[in-house]
């Protein structure tokens, strides 16, 4: 994962609630075994509609997606995060995220910025009125600001995740530093816990 400290850019206002991960990346796209190239599939069913907000030229080059509540619900598919990032988004703003989607974001370096519903509404309206509105998200300060619209908000981010994002740290490498503790736990596990037959390699 690459370190991420500050995201500055324009935004796309996706004024819908309950945008599930099936909408973000439809299941046809999940058959790929690679991690790249999912940007083409992002919101692919909605993007067929010429009027869809992402197709508007004034939103080209946006790096921030602003959505209604309950963004990223449903399927655990991390492909949704890969698609958003491959398309060019670096942050998603919503009053509420699906838990698994939010986790997937922080493992990959896409910022999930949770704001209250009033701020979310104000951002959607401000970006609709001024597509060139510049928004800055600061991971260290945990703030989102759009000075030209008079919007300033603090978002939740636990210290551990914040540290990982700021340093671009590999989660697995961090956990492997605790392999002694894992071994201790393994020695103490109950004998009746299930183990499966493993085929010869």
């Amino acid at each position: 994962m690459e370190a991420v400290r500050i995201v500055t850019g324009t935004a796309v206002p996706l004024d819908r609630s309950d945008v599930d991960t099936d909408q973000i990346i439809p299941s046809d796209w999940l058959k790929q075994v690679e991690r790249t190239g999912f940007g083409k599939g992002l919101f692919s069913e909605w993007r067929d509609d010429r009027d869809f907000v992402m197709n508007q030229p004034e939103h080209a080059g946006a790096t921030i997606l602003i959505a209604g509540p309950n963004f990223g619900t449903g399927s655990s598919r991390e492909h949704a995060v890969w698609a958003l990032m491959d398309y060019g988004f670096r942050a998603v703003v919503s009053p509420r995220f699906g838990d698994i989607f939010r986790n997937n974001c922080t493992k990959t370096g896409l910022l999930p910025v949770q704001v209250d519903e009033r701020t979310g509404r104000a951002l959607l309206d401000a970006v609709a009125a001024d597509p060139g509105l510049e928004i800055t998200i600061d991971v260290e300060r945990r703030t989102l600001s759009a000075p030209a619209a008079g919007i300033e908000a603090v978002f939740p981010l636990d210290p551990f995740t914040q540290h990982r994002l700021l340093e671009g740290l590999d989660d697995i490498g961090l956990t492997m530093q605790h392999s002694d503790a894992i071994e201790v736990h393994e020695k103490e596990r109950a004998a009746w816990l299930p183990k499966v037959e493993t085929p010869a390699r």
Binding site: D15, S17, D18, D20, D22, Q23, P26, S27, D28, L30, K31, V33, E34, R35, E45, G68, N70, T73, G74, S75, S76, R77, E78, H79, V81, R96, F97, G98, D99, I100, N103, N104, K107, T108, D158, P159, F160, D171, I172, L174, T175, M176, S179, A181, I182, H185, E186, R189, A190, A191, W192, L193, P194, K195, V196, E197, T198, P199, A200, R201
Partner: protein, 466 residues
């Protein structure tokens, strides 16, 4: 006196490998289930970093999402490749795989319990949001993304912040003809798609105790549809009876030791939950979803709701958009809405009890000629059992297609899809736009309602049939 704890707290506490201030707990994973869609990039990650699978003996894999249900030959070359990649990864890393054609192959959340792998008090993860199903056994089971799949493969652990707890108290019992599916749709309708976010739900009360293990799995399965991290039911005699004798269940003296342990898992009387809701099971009737998220549900006797009837602007907007997509008009009685397709299957409702319930409705009846109807058993074992009981004959005689096991039309990654504009009564878990095929319109129902709807040609409860 020690602190009173909930079921999920007890399971959590016994799996903490390491805990430190300002860091998430490092949680040990007892069983990791793997399927072909969310794992290839994780295995690639292991290879790139020169890592291996720490505990292949705590890992199993199956093929379910892509598999065709009419033949074992995979026509789509991209699907075929994804399945081959899983087989190759399992060979390379020494993981037991239930491939297409294996008698134990099936939907990952159906075979885990069948094999006796889903045990009380364990932690179970899978790169699939419906992992919450296994919580029916009193396991803490939740879905993870592909980066986390790689993490579990490499370390058998996951860093996780401790979730909040939520009690859903189900008072009284369901009436005849009302099923676990109707109950969970009612619960999601009550608390909403975000109602469980950040929480582990514990389903409690007389209405849950009275459910079979299959019914409890249906309820826990859809916890994610209310946004919850997991759903759980405290283990009891029904749990132990289901598990005893299964392939990977404890045997001999270990069985007694395990049961002793499992009995101590129930939430301590008086332990507090962060959130609580209650529901009267005796008031629940068969439910049908009308919209494009699983909280948009009504009793089958109701009409399609008017978007203006919702207080929240976002709910009103979502309802308007849903009605446009679904091609429905507010005020139409659900019983007057006709369907093109009926799908009985998925990790929510493709266990033997579900097939029995549907077959009981179909016995001696015929599917309406305007309806395409298919039944996809959840696993090879379910299929074999149903055939032993002659249920396949009942389905076929009624005009249903009897298929091979897999996820099938629940998410339409295989050839089983809705055409644009087609309307389905489906026993699956998601009525999202395009979920069952681009432009397809999904209504979530129980197996009994699905069967009755197939016969009537429009939404119907079994009691409506002459």
């Amino acid at each position: 006196m020690s602190k009173l704890r909930t079921l999920s707290d007890k399971v959590w506490d016994r799996h903490v490998v390491r805990s430190a201030e300002d860091e998430p707990d490092l949680l040990y994973v007892d069983m990791h289930l793997v399927h072909e869609v969310t794992s290839p990039q994780a295995f690639d990650g292991l290879r790139m970093a020169g890592r291996t699978v720490r505990r292949p003996d705590l890992t199993i894999a199956t093929m379910d999402h892509n598999v065709p249900t009419t033949t074992i030959d995979v026509a789509d070359p991209i699907s075929a490749k994804q399945m081959e990649v899983l087989a190759a990864n399992c060979r390379e890393f020494g993981i037991e795989l239930f491939a297409v054609g294996d008698p134990d192959q099936g939907i990952v959340h159906i075979i885990g319990p069948e094999l006796g792998l889903s045990q009380p008090g364990t932690t179970i993860v899978c790169g699939d949001s419906h992992t919450s199903t296994h919580g029916a056994f009193g396991a803490l089971a939740f879905g993870i993304g592909t980066s986390e799949v790689e993490h579990v493969l490499a370390t058998q652990t996951l860093p996780q912040p401790r979730p909040r707890t939520m009690a859903v108290n189900v008072e009284n019992v369901l009436s005849d003809g009302v099923t676990a599916k109707d109950l969970v749709l009612a619960i999601i309708g009550l608390i909403g798609t975000g109602g469980g976010m950040g929480h582990v739900i514990e389903y409690r009360g007389e209405g849950i105790r009275a459910l079979s293990m299959e019914g409890r799995m249906t309820v826990c399965n859809m916890s994610i549809e209310a946004g919850a991290k997991a759903g759980m039911v405290a283990p009891d005699d029904a749990t132990f009876a289901y598990l005893e004798g299964r392939r990977y269940a404890p045997k001999g003296p270990r069985w007694a030791a395990a049961v002793e342990e499992w009995k101590s898992l129930a939430t301590d009387p008086g332990a507090a939950f962060d959130k609580e809701v209650s529901l009267d099971a005796s008031a629940v009737t068969p439910y049908v979803s009308w919209g494009t998220n699983p909280a948009q549900v009504v009793p089958i006797g109701d009409v399609v709701p008017d978007p203006e009837s919702f207080d929240q602007p976002s709910a009103r907007e979502a309802a308007e958009r849903a009605l446009a997509y679904m091609g429905l008009t507010a005020g139409t009685p659900l019983r007057e809405v006709g369907v093109d397709t009926v799908f009985i299957g998925s990790c929510t409702n493709a266990r033997i009890e579900d097939l029995r319930a549907a077959a009981a409705v179909l016995e001696g009846r015929r599917v309406d000629p305007s309806v395409r109807a298919l039944v996809v058993p959840g696993s090879g074992r379910v299929k074999a059992q149903a055939e032993k009981e002659g249920l396949d004959q009942v389905f076929s005689a009624a005009g249903f297609e009897w298929r091979n096991p897999g996820c099938s039309m629940c998410l339409a990654m295989n050839p089983d899809k809705l055409a644009p504009g087609e309307r389905a009564a489906s026993t699956s878990n998601r009525n999202f736009e395009g979920r069952q095929g681009r432009g397809g319109r999904t209504h979530l129902v129980s197996p009994a309602v699905a069967a009755a709807t197939a016969v009537a040609g429009h939404f119907a409860a079994p009691g409506d049939l002459s």
